[in-house]
């Protein structure tokens, strides 16, 4: 196992401020504190070359876990080993072997051309010149950086910046990559490009990837394994299919009617989720009524122009998981 996490625990102490004018004045004299358990016993292991999605609502403990794994936060309890090393005990050696991309902030120098940022990182990570050259050229090609290599980062679009940040995180060819919201705010084309790159990186180079994201399309496109964290504990750890099955067997049937009878579309074994003009969405349990049977019933009663069956969006699945 490349990454081992056992019973990870971390509690934060937060200062509280009472709202309003009176609270502000009182705050001058006395401060109150609150203990928040960000992590309350998290355990999982990753083998080399896995591509794992690490998801959960805000405040669930995702970034705390990542910070511990990256070696910049010391936990209160539990055992963590990355490549046989305890991350926070040997920060510099550990950090040398991992790459981290934050979706919200860039690690590149704002006023420097991209190519010079990469060059600077080479010196910081002490990458030998020829190894750097090959690596850099490959990254430029794979991420299509050639068009904006000499532009300062502040002039880049979000999609370009994200690609540049990905390249920057791989200059030193790490074996583990942490991606935190890598597709946030990107246009559709850039998102696809980023996903394709990450997938390829994982398949061809065997780089272990931990992806935290709120975009479920990222998860569906990339991750075979999904770990769900909520309120500081692991809610689910397995494949995406397992997750869906665990939470709900539900399927959705969406039909477009052609005869204006959308308002009357209904079935005894199905519930209507949404009616939108000519489009109706029904939820059903395939164990009670098979998709084929339901389709047959509905099409016999209405003139259907188009239909499709799908799994509920992963957000619905996750939301149900949190509610349990």
């Amino acid at each position: 196992m490349q990454i081992v996490v056992q019973d990870l625990a971390k509690t934060f102490r937060i200062a509280e401020r009472a709202p309003g004018m009176f609270g502000a004045v009182r705050g001058l004299v006395r401060r109150r504190h609150r203990d928040v358990a960000a992590l309350a016993g998290v355990s999982f292991s990753l083998a080399p070359g896995e591509l794992v999605g690490y998801i959960g609502p805000n405040g669930a403990g995702k970034s705390t876990t990542i910070k511990v794994l990256a070696g910049i936060l010391i936990p209160d309890g539990g055992r963590v080993e990355v490549d046989g090393r305890v991350p926070w005990r040997h920060r510099i050696e550990h950090v040398r072997r991992i790459g981290v991309v934050f979706g919200q902030r860039t690690q590149l120098w704002w006023d420097l051309p991209v190519i010079e940022s990469l060059e600077m990182l080479r010196h910081i990570y002490k990458v030998p010149p020829d190894r750097f050259r090959t690596q850099r050229d490959e990254l430029i090609e794979l991420l299509a950086l050639a068009d904006f290599l000499d532009k300062p980062v502040r002039q880049l679009s979000l999609g370009q910046r994200m690609r540049a940040d990905l390249a920057a995180s791989l200059v030193h060819a790490p074996s583990i990559l942490f991606l935190d919201e890598p597709t946030i705010g990107l246009d559709a084309v850039s998102k696809l490009a980023v996903r394709a790159f990450v997938k390829r990186l994982n398949r061809e180079r065997g780089v272990t990837v931990i992806l935290t994201t709120h975009d479920m399309d990222d998860i569906e496109a990339l991750c075979e394994r999904v770990i769900v964290i909520g309120d500081g504990t692991i809610l689910s750890d397995g494949t995406l299919a397992d997750l869906r099955k665990r939470v709900t067997r539900e399927r959705w049937l969406t039909i477009d009617v052609a005869d204006g009878s959308a308002d009357t579309v209904a079935d005894a074994d199905a519930s209507v989720i949404r009616r939108d003009g000519e489009r109706v969405c029904l939820a059903f349990d395939p164990e009670i009524v098979s998709p084929a049977a339901l389709i047959q019933r509905v099409t016999s009663r209405h003139a259907v122009r188009d239909l499709f069956v799908e799994n509920p969006p992963i957000e619905t699945v996750i939301a149900r998981l949190y509610q349990r």
């Binding site: 004018m21 502000a24 004045v25 001058l28």
Partner: protein, 270 residues
């Protein structure tokens, strides 16, 4: 009117949050005050010719300068700077409030709240605590009841000048955008010509007429000297007139520049 009051109240509340900053600032200013006084005392100790202002009055002058330090516009209003930079200021013009009036109200709040929060504790330190530790170094009480009353009026005048100056500085942002140069220049002038580097009465005689005429004197130097009695309470109304005149000049200048600036922005298309 209620709109302007709401703005002032919101600022006050925000500023109360900074408790550690408040105490820290007090400490720093007390430190600077003590050092300045030590230096001036050393100068006075070996003096062969009498100075235009006695040492006790100079000591009070230094403390009053520290107490009202925050009247000086050290920085431009960040929100206004942001509005101008992004061009959102144009939206402000569509509101029913007069833009200069709004900016003046903001400046007034920006000046009043911090000044009071710094001034009152500073008075306590300079008048009560310092004499316990270093007798003779304290801020002496006002020369007379009349002096105190006139000082209160002059303080209000100083606040008005400060607000007008700040509003004017904010208006100049429409030309400079980054707003680094102007505040630095204004703060430097205010520090120097307000008597914070050395008390104005200690300047060479030939410079004094010019110095006393400037608005900076009205903001810091003149009120302080009313307090200590260096300027007699009966002469204080002249100080008020001086302050009022400068306030009107700065406000007029600010309004005029603002209208020019707005026209320029609209023509440029933001």
């Amino acid at each position: 009117m209620m709109g302007y009051i709401a703005i002032i109240a919101a600022r006050f509340r925000a500023l109360l949050q900074y408790r550690a900053a408040a105490l820290g600032g007090l400490f720093t200013q007390t430190f600077f005050g003590l050092v300045r006084i030590m230096i001036l005392r050393a100068f006075y100790a070996a003096a062969t010719v009498a100075a235009p202002m006695s040492l006790p009055r100079v000591v009070s002058y230094v403390w009053l300068g520290q107490a009202t330090l925050l009247l000086i516009p050290w920085r431009t209003d960040e929100d206004v700077a942001e509005q101008i930079r992004t061009g959102n200021v144009v939206y402000e013009l569509t509101r029913p409030l007069d833009l200069y009036g709004v900016w003046f109200a903001r400046s007034l709040a920006w000046r009043t709240a911090p000044v009071f929060l710094r001034m009152l504790p500073m008075f306590v330190v300079a008048m009560v605590i310092v004499p316990l530790v270093a007798p003779g170094w304290e801020l002496a009480p006002p020369a007379s009841a009349a002096a105190f009353v006139m000082w209160v009026a002059c303080f209000a005048g100083a606040v008005l000048i400060s607000a007008a100056l700040t509003a004017l500085m904010n208006v100049t942002l429409m030309w400079t955008l980054t707003g680094d140069g102007v505040p630095m220049l204004v703060a430097t002038c205010a520090t120097m010509f307000g008597g914070l580097v050395i008390p104005l009465p200690l300047f060479p005689e030939w410079a004094k007429p010019v110095l006393y005429a400037l608005p900076f004197a009205g903001m810091l130097d003149l009120p302080s000297r009313v307090f200590s009695g260096d300027i007699a309470a009966t002469s204080a109304p002249w100080v008020l007139a001086h302050q009022l005149a400068w306030t009107l000049v700065l406000v007029a200048l600010g309004r005029w520049l603002l209208s020019r600036g707005v026209r320029r922005l609209v023509v440029q298309g933001g």
